[in-house]
């Protein structure tokens, strides 16, 4: 029995089932299989095979759960583990949450539209509801980050997830989401819907580490709604190959004084194609935003978008796209956009794309570094984005991912 709203969602999704996305290669979703097999639930995720554990760890997910407030693991289409270690925090599968809490529907397809494109439609029409539901109760403060893992293990399959994350009033939540595929997956797709809700005075840090493979297509669709005085901090790290990745997450700053920050670090090796951006809509007075992207190509293609929209007075936002082209065949296309719909706003952007400045290399060589050492030092510095307000453990996690990515570069 569907409610009227559920019927409407399905109807809209059906109408959009063939709708190509505004950006990125148009994928043929029929070329992927939908996994029917249900994998067994693991009370203890350390029971996963060693090679799987290693893949998860490279995406920032530690199955031992040490220094983590909770863990969620989905493999293909099955939730295999769901656990929480701190009071005031909830980790459920989305299916379970929708069953348990009738009010959860209020957070279902509100920050992302089911008919945005064929990918959102695909997830809306999927027979089962996958993904995680993570919530910090009012005033709860997560000491350690929660971790969620979306693992594509089956060759030729499409994985779909629909996540909901809620930081209730005054809560503080850090979530690390590691998305990765098994070494044997040569062809596969991941479609992820993520809806984030940051309530009054809450803080939510979302760190996504992507660790896909040469043959995987990825289409995340994310939206965040932030209330008065709330803070949303998004960190995105993708340093490993991916066949095609396209996303343009959007944050709506709806309450006065709300803040959104997006930091992204992208590396495109040959054969990788990424169309990644971040958009912030400043809808209430005194809201602020910062979007920072560092992109680097060693032969792949990166389109780096960014868009700031001011719809209320006294807002301030800055957009920064920096790109390094380290190969003759690489492409970086930076497209920063600013849109002011009212007066008394302050929007700015800064974009720079090119090779490493020879002046910087020579400067370091004059201090005794060889040309290769100087280049490596500059690249490491370029990718070293200190993300403000992160707990040290989380920054260490990001640094580790960046370090692992750098090893592949030199």
């Amino acid at each position: 029995m569907h409610t009227a709203r559920q019927e409407e969602i399905l109807a809209r999704a059906r109408a959009a089932a063939g709708k190509a996305a505004a950006y990125g290669e148009d994928l043929d979703l029929n070329s992927y299989r939908v996994s029917a097999a249900t994998l067994p639930y693991l009370n203890d995720p350390t029971q996963l095979a060693a090679e799987d554990r290693a893949r998860l760890l490279a995406a920032g997910v530690d199955v031992t759960g040490s220094d983590r407030a909770g863990t969620f693991i989905q493999i293909n289409q099955s939730v295999v583990h769901c656990g929480v270690a701190q009071e005031g925090l909830e980790v459920l599968s989305t299916a379970e949450a929708l069953e348990k809490y009738p009010w959860a529907e209020e957070y279902w397809w509100r920050a992302v539209l089911p008919d945005q494109d064929k990918y959102t439609a695909h997830v809306a029409l999927a027979p089962q509801r996958n993904g995680y539901f993570i919530r910090a109760l009012p005033g709860a403060r997560a000491v350690y980050p929660l971790q969620a893992c979306l693992y594509l293990q089956q060759e030729g399959a499409v994985q779909d997830v629909h996540n909901i994350v809620i930081a209730e009033e005054g809560a503080e939540l850090h979530l690390v989401s590691g998305c990765t595929s098994a070494a044997r997956v040569k062809h596969g797709a991941h479609i992820g819907i993520s809806e984030f809700y940051v309530k009054k005075g809450a803080r939510l840090t979302f760190t996504m580490i992507h660790n896909w493979a040469e043959g995987v297509a990825v289409r995340p669709r994310s939206g965040t709604v932030i209330a008065e005085g709330g803070l949303f901090l998004s960190n995105y790290v993708c340093l490993q190959p991916v066949r095609t990745m396209q996303m343009y997450p959007t944050a709506w700053l709806q309450g006065p004084g709300a803040v959104a920050r997006y930091y992204s670090i992208l590396v495109a090796p040959p054969g990788s194609s990424m169309d990644v951006g971040s958009r912030v809509v400043l809808q209430a007075p005194r809201t602020r935003a910062e979007v920072v992207a560092r992109t680097l190509t060693t032969g792949g293609e990166i389109i780096n978008r960014g868009c700031l929209v001011a719809e209320a007075p006294e807002v301030k936002a800055h957009l920064e796209c920096r790109g390094l082209v380290l190969a003759e065949t690489g492409v970086i296309h930076a497209i920063p956009e600013l849109l002011a719909k009212v007066g008394n706003v302050d929007l700015s952007h800064e974009a720079a794309v090119g090779k490493i400045a020879e002046e910087e290399i020579e400067y370091l060589m004059a201090r005794g570094l060889s040309e290769d050492e100087a280049t490596a030092t500059i690249v490491r510095g370029f990718l070293n984005v200190q993300m403000m307000g992160l707990p040290p453990a989380l920054q260490a996690e990001i640094d580790k991912a960046v370090e692992a990515g750098e090893k592949a570069l030199f």
Binding site: A357, E358, E359, E360, E362, Y363, L364, M365, A366, R367, G368, L369, S370, E371, A374, T377, I378, R380, G381, F382, L383, N384, V385
Partner: protein, 280 residues
Amino acid sequence: MLRLENLTVAVGEREILHDINLEIRPGEVHVLFGPNGSGKTSLLGAIMGFARYRVVSGKIYFQGEDITTWPIDARARLGIGLSFQRPPTVRGVTTRQLVGVCGRGQVEVEALAEELNFRDFLDRDVNLGFSGGELKRSELLQLLAQDPQLVLLDEPESGVDLENIALIGRVINRLLERDVVHREGKSQREIRRGRRKAGLVITHTGYILDYLNTDVGHVLFEGRLSCVGNPHELLDCIQKLGYEECVRCSIENATMAGGQGNYAHGTAGRDSGAGTGGRG
């Protein structure tokens, strides 16, 4: 220690330094005067080996080696250190890391920074948002860690406020082993004679000479060394008569040397132990 032999340097197709002959012996500090655009920074850049300064002819010898075609880092490792006039920003690399690199991990970064009153800047990205004076202190801090045999200083006083210029002068003297310190069993004269560190200092204003003892002055004019002498005398002359006066000297040089630009070698300050003599 450093010998430039008939050095001609071009940027692109344009020759900017012509037939330069210069020798700096161990323990000597030389000063390079010259109007804007005369080629002072280019000369230091050519000695350091920067790609944009192409040696057309002539040789650069350092520590007995012909380094004319050596890469920059090999020159640095052999003992040449340069304080940049306008150093670039290196994002994501902290000053602390870079000072560590300069000292090859063998130096106490905190203690060196304390000397330059620069500890608060150690965790900031290299040169990011630094003021003129902060840039100079950052450069000297790196050189202190690097401890080069030949110190090239490109306008070390530019942008430095009065409060810090004495500090800068003190650190440069230390870099050049010219700080006055008491050492048991050694007279000051012996200490002076034992100095090995050499320097080549570019100054536009000459202010730094109030804090730094130097031995030989040169004037670089339109890419040629047109004059040599006591640094204070030269500065005095430039301040009173301006660089226009150099035109006359360079014409005279050209006539005397048959257009070879071979300028008369002065004798001032050849005994580094004797000090500059001309001060005050």
